[in-house]
């Protein structure tokens, strides 16, 4: 009997202890870190690339998959207007070898205040990455020599076949261009 009482008391005490800790952490600005391995995810739930990193990771695949890479930002009205079409494309072609990648050029300091909330609020299912590279004069041309630098802009590629569009898309226009590469 005493042992059980002791166990219950211990559990209660430990719970109270945890409660105090939790309150303390809520008072501070520091996120509650669960473990070192989770730390990276809590600091950035989506990949953040400089251009070379982005290029290596996502723009030079050679595997028969058609990549639809859209450059956008949460503050860009025509960009957010066409995002549903890219989401729809990904959903409609989920059985095909097609992948939609949404490359945000939101300001990096707004990653947690604007971009992540936007992704969550709109339940985006396409892969979203953040491009953090201020040397745009260099990387704009690496995406396409035709690109004058405005967004939205979309790169569609499969192996060596590439097409670049500095414009807004309707769903049917987007699908038409994808089909010619798919």
């Amino acid at each position: 009997m005493n042992k059980i009482f002791l166990i219950i008391a211990s559990i209660l005490l430990v719970s109270c202890g945890n409660q105090t800790q939790k309150d303390a952490s809520e008072d501070t600005d520091e996120p509650l870190l669960v473990s070192t391995s989770d730390k990276a995810e809590k600091e950035s739930p989506i990949p953040v690339y400089d251009f070379d990193g982005l290029e290596q990771a996502l723009l030079t695949k050679n595997n028969d998959t058609t990549y639809v890479v859209n450059f956008w930002a949460t503050w860009c009205k025509p960009c957010v207007k066409e995002l549903p079409y890219f989401e729809q494309l990904g959903a409609n072609y989920s059985e095909e070898k097609l992948k939609v990648i949404l490359v945000s050029i939101d300001f990096p300091e707004n990653l947690h205040t604007r971009l992540i909330p936007y992704i969550e609020e709109h339940k985006l299912t396409s892969e979203v990455v953040l491009l953090d590279d201020s040397d745009a004069n260099t990387w704009i041309n690496k995406v396409s020599e035709e690109w004058q630098g405005s967004i939205p802009a979309t790169l569609i590629y499969k192996n060596d076949k590439r097409a670049f569009f500095e414009k807004s898309f309707s769903y049917s226009e987007l699908e038409k261009e994808v089909k010619s590469i798919l």
């Binding site: 009205k77 300001f107 040397d135 745009a136 004069n137 690109w147 004058q148 500095e166």
Partner: protein, 210 residues
């Protein structure tokens, strides 16, 4: 007779081919037709936020113009505002005043009405004209595709010749981290009587709203 007809036919074919080649060379598929380096910019007559009309010829002492297409709310334009004001201060008295033009159609982009342009110019203390284009055509004449987008003009015998196109500097988002002041370098080269070495650069900006 037959020879003459043949000659005429061949001439027509040749002219047709040349016209076609000329047309193709002048227009790349995705680039808006507009001014390129070496082209002459037409005169403008646009409404300034102070209610007066502004033309290049209102500046008889200018050696050229720093024409910047910019708007009220694009984050890249906003991030550039202080630098645009600084450029006007740096170069106005050296012969190259800034002329800012808003390329957006307020029917499409309500943030860019004339009234809001006036508020912006007043709040930021713009020292240069901030012009409204009622015709919605000037941006297309230049080939401006985004804000901000710069065209540096130099007065020459032929007219106002385009000497530099593109970005203000190499870091649109962060003035404090700029390493290369592309536009300022170009203006300084012109002032020194030299040719501009880096004639075109690129930067991210918001698409023109039309």
């Amino acid at each position: 007779m037959k020879n003459k007809q043949l000659l005429l036919l061949v001439s027509i074919c040749l002219m047709g081919t040349m016209a076609l080649v000329g047309f193709k060379a002048g227009n790349t598929e995705n680039y808006t037709a507009g001014l390129t380096i070496g082209d002459v910019a037409a005169e403008i007559n646009l409404l300034n936020v102070d209610g007066n009309m502004v033309s290049y010829s209102d500046y008889p002492n200018a050696d050229g113009f720093i024409v910047i297409f910019t708007c009220n709310t694009c984050p890249y334009a906003v991030a550039s505002e202080d630098r645009i004001i600084a450029l006007d201060e740096e170069f106005k008295d050296k012969g190259y005043p800034v002329i800012a033009i808003n390329p957006n159609n307020p029917d499409v982009q309500p943030d860019d009405t004339f009234e809001l342009m006036q508020q912006k110019a007043s709040a930021k203390g713009f020292t240069f004209p901030y012009l409204y284009d009622e015709t919605n055509t000037v941006y297309a004449q230049y080939g401006a595709t985004k804000t901000p987008h710069v065209y540096l003009l130099k007065n020459e015998d032929d007219g106002r010749v385009v000497k530099y196109i593109g970005a203000i500097d190499d870091n649109v988002r962060n003035a404090g981290a700029v390493k290369d002041r592309f536009l300022a370098n170009a203006v300084n080269e012109l002032i020194a009587g030299k040719e501009v070495t880096v004639k075109e650069t690129k930067a991210i900006g918001c698409s023109v709203k039309q």
